[in-house]
């Protein structure tokens, strides 16, 4: 997995609540059997018209935000399906960090597995960052995972919380499966014990 340590980049504002996984990547793109190549279809129905032409007013189509690496959005981001295609599309586009007042549970988990840092913050803090993001390409934000801070283009510092285990994995680019397999002995002993207690499973 790609490491995430510190990121300075353009933040795109998407001030909308309940951005769901069907918006992030509509189902016609779930037919792939690969993890890559979904970035061009990120936010497909908001980004392109029916002929496939870009809609100029959508944020990621504006020249200032084409290279965005951070996304600032509204409550309950990523609600809906468990499709990991959503974080794959976000990452493939080049976004490595999403900031919102709250996230849907499965999407939140999926981000960490793909080197994306989701940051939940109180609404007032998100409002500050949303304003900063609206300034366009010159306003670069810095997200420092080690220090757990976001620095706006004006130098205002906002700190955030992150689960220590997930932080550790993200900073070191650790693969969960490898870590879990180190505990194979515990899994073995659980299995033999549970096999006696609940043999019907």
């Amino acid at each position: 997995m790609d490491k995430f340590e510190k990121l300075t980049g353009i933040a795109a504002p998407l001030p909308q609540v309940n951005v769901d996984t069907d918006m992030i990547i509509p189902k016609q793109y779930l037919k792939t059997i690969k993890r890559t190549g979904l970035g061009v279809n990120l936010f497909d129905e908001m980004r392109y018209d029916e002929q496939g032409n870009e809609k100029p007013d959508f944020v990621l189509n504006q020249p200032a935000y084409r290279e965005a690496e951070i996304l600032v959005s509204g409550e309950n981001f990523g609600c809906g399906s468990s499709r990991e295609h959503a974080p794959w599309a976000i990452k493939d586009f080049g976004i490595r960090c999403v900031i919102a007042p709250s996230f849907a549970d499965i999407f939140f988990n999926n981000c960490f597995k793909n080197g994306i840092l989701p940051i939940p913050l109180p609404q007032e803090k998100v409002d500050i960052l949303m304003k900063d993001a609206e300034k366009g390409a010159n306003a670069r934000m810095t997200v420092d995972l080690e220090a757990q801070t976001i620095t706006t283009s004006d130098g205002e510092v906002i700190s955030f919380e992150v689960d220590p285990f997930r932080k550790h994995c993200l900073i070191n680019g650790l693969d969960d499966i490898g870590l879990t397999l180190e505990k194979a002995a515990s899994i073995d002993s659980y299995e033999s014990q549970a096999g006696q207690q609940r043999p019907w499973v």
Binding site: L30, E45, N109, F165, L181, V201
Partner: protein, 472 residues
């Protein structure tokens, strides 16, 4: 010491490892797999040279992307992309030796219908699947939730999942439901009350007299939509109805094992002195037949109401409502019953079981689809379909003018040609009314099977109580 909730009990029974920072390793009893969210996980296993740790606990079935028309077992009749995913699942199931129900097998169907039907889902288990509606299996008192593809790979390789524990939420539905009100109305009404993020961070246990009174199938409908309320999972404590439903299913325990299982299952309930982090209580008598009007499952109102205005809401929801009314082509103040529809979809893991089909057929018996309305019934599994045919329900549907399809997810997510046209408005028994969910530009109103059947007959959203009152 305070008592434990049902969730606490299942969690404790599956804890493999508990790290100091609070992250836990949870053992997974059943892993369900389908064609859309698994190919990358199997690819990952191959690349790392790993095996499936417990193939006997892993069950695969193609459902999301399969055609629901006759002749689909002939590969040439699938779209190129469906074929690639279905063939990938065929190969993966074979190579890794997992249980498999291909499209040619009568037991094939929507994964959340197949699991319970075959007795794979049992009380007290942990059940996961790369699909958010895994919550359905919670109806058996199993801890069941959706996972992403990386987690699918993790479970395949290790039979465990890294988790942190959720909080406990109790949703109690007291008393009795009025006539015409169903499990779907309960689950939609709960989301209407708590919002789509109201359950975030929680596992919900549904309880109360109205829940106890539901059949197992109704309970599955309720738990199915726990995820739409933001919860990780929804649970209902097992009781005699649960045991009765499970008994004799192909993969349910038998003989002495059945007795042993039963005595453990009977301990699976929340203790009286258990701690709840959040409690929501709704009177069964206060629940009405509901429909959704917007593009979020929380946009729900009794059928007797009117389309709301953006100004009726606060905060970020004002813009969201403006956007969704625009998308849905609705004007504030319009009575919900005046909304005309062009399509009806009966099916999905929420309402694609035999009781759902019976309930819809009961309303449709001797009636016809309204002019200009198309209807589609997609049974949740091949066995549901066969049972319905045995009872003659297929004849009622086709006489009414509905298409009688083969089992799959179909229009619920519109991955294959089963889609709404842009602007087409549909009365649907599924669980998501998101923009573009059932087809680009398609407009979805969620409701129960009887409400969808009533709308089919009149051509507009309809209070089923009025329609059925006419006939008695």
């Amino acid at each position: 010491m305070t008592g434990k909730t049902l969730y606490d009990k299942i969690w404790d029974a599956h804890l493999v490892d508990h790290a100091e920072d609070g992250t836990c390793l949870i053992y997974i009893d059943r892993h369900l797999v389908h064609e859309v969210t698994s190919p990358q996980a199997f690819e990952g296993l191959r690349m790392a040279g790993r095996q499936v740790r417990a193939p006997e606990k892993t069950i695969a079935v193609p459902d999301h992307n399969v055609p629901t028309t006759q002749g689909r077992e002939i590969v040439a009749n699938m779209t190129e992309e469906s074929r690639i995913q279905v063939e990938a699942l065929d190969k993966n199931a074979r190579d890794f030796g997992i249980n498999y129900y291909p499209v040619s097998d009568i037991r094939q169907g929507i994964v959340h219908i197949v699991g319970p039907e075959q007795g794979w889902t049992l009380p007290g288990m942990t059940v996961v699947c790369g699909d958010s509606h895994t919550a359905t299996h919670g109806a058996f008192g199993a801890l069941a939730h959706g996972i992403g593809t990386s987690e699918v790979e993790h479970v395949l390789a290790t039979q465990t999942l890294i988790q942190s524990k959720s909080k406990n939420m109790k949703v109690e539905i007291t008393g009795q439901l009025p006539p015409g009100v169903t499990a779907k109305d309960i689950t939609l009404s709960v989301i209407g009350k708590t919002g789509t993020a109201g359950g975030t961070g929680y596992v919900i246990e549904y309880c109360g007299e109205a829940i106890r009174a539901l059949s197992m199938e109704g309970r599955m409908t309720v738990c199915n939509m726990a995820i739409e309320g933001g919860a990780r999972a929804g649970l209902i404590a097992p009781d005699e109805k649960t045991f009765e439903y499970v008994k004799g299913r192909p993969h349910a325990p038998k003989g002495a094992q059945w007795e042993a299982a039963l005595s453990w299952w009977k301990t699976l309930y929340s203790d009286d002195d258990a701690h709840w982090d959040k409690v929501v209580t709704i009177r069964g008598e206060d629940i009405a037949p509901v429909v959704t009007w917007g593009t979020s499952p929380e946009d729900v109102l009794p059928i007797t109401e009117k389309v709301p205005a953006p100004e009726d809401f606060a905060g970020g929801k004002v813009d969201a409502v403006r956007r969704s009314l625009d998308y849905m082509g609705l004007t504030p103040g319009t009575p919900l019953q005046d909304i005309k529809i062009g399509a009806v979809f009966i099916g999905s893991c929420t309402n694609g079981r035999i009781e759902d089909l019976r309930a819809a057929a009961e309303v449709l018996k001797g009636r016809k689809l309204a002019d200009g309305v198309r209807g589609m019934v997609v049974p949740g599994s091949g066995l549901v379909r066969a049972k319905a045919e045995e009872e003659g329900l297929d004849v009622i549907f086709t006489d009414a003018g509905f298409e009688w399809r083969l089992a799959g997810c179909s229009m619920c997510l519109g991955m294959n040609p089963d889609q709404l046209a842009p602007g087409e408005r549909c009365a649907a028994t599924s669980n998501r009314n998101f923009e573009g969910r059932m087809g680009r530009g398609g407009r979805t109103h969620l409701m129960s099977p009887v409400m969808a059947a009533a709308a089919a007959v009149t051509g507009h959203l309809t209070d089923v109580r009025e329609l059925t009152a006419e006939t008695v």
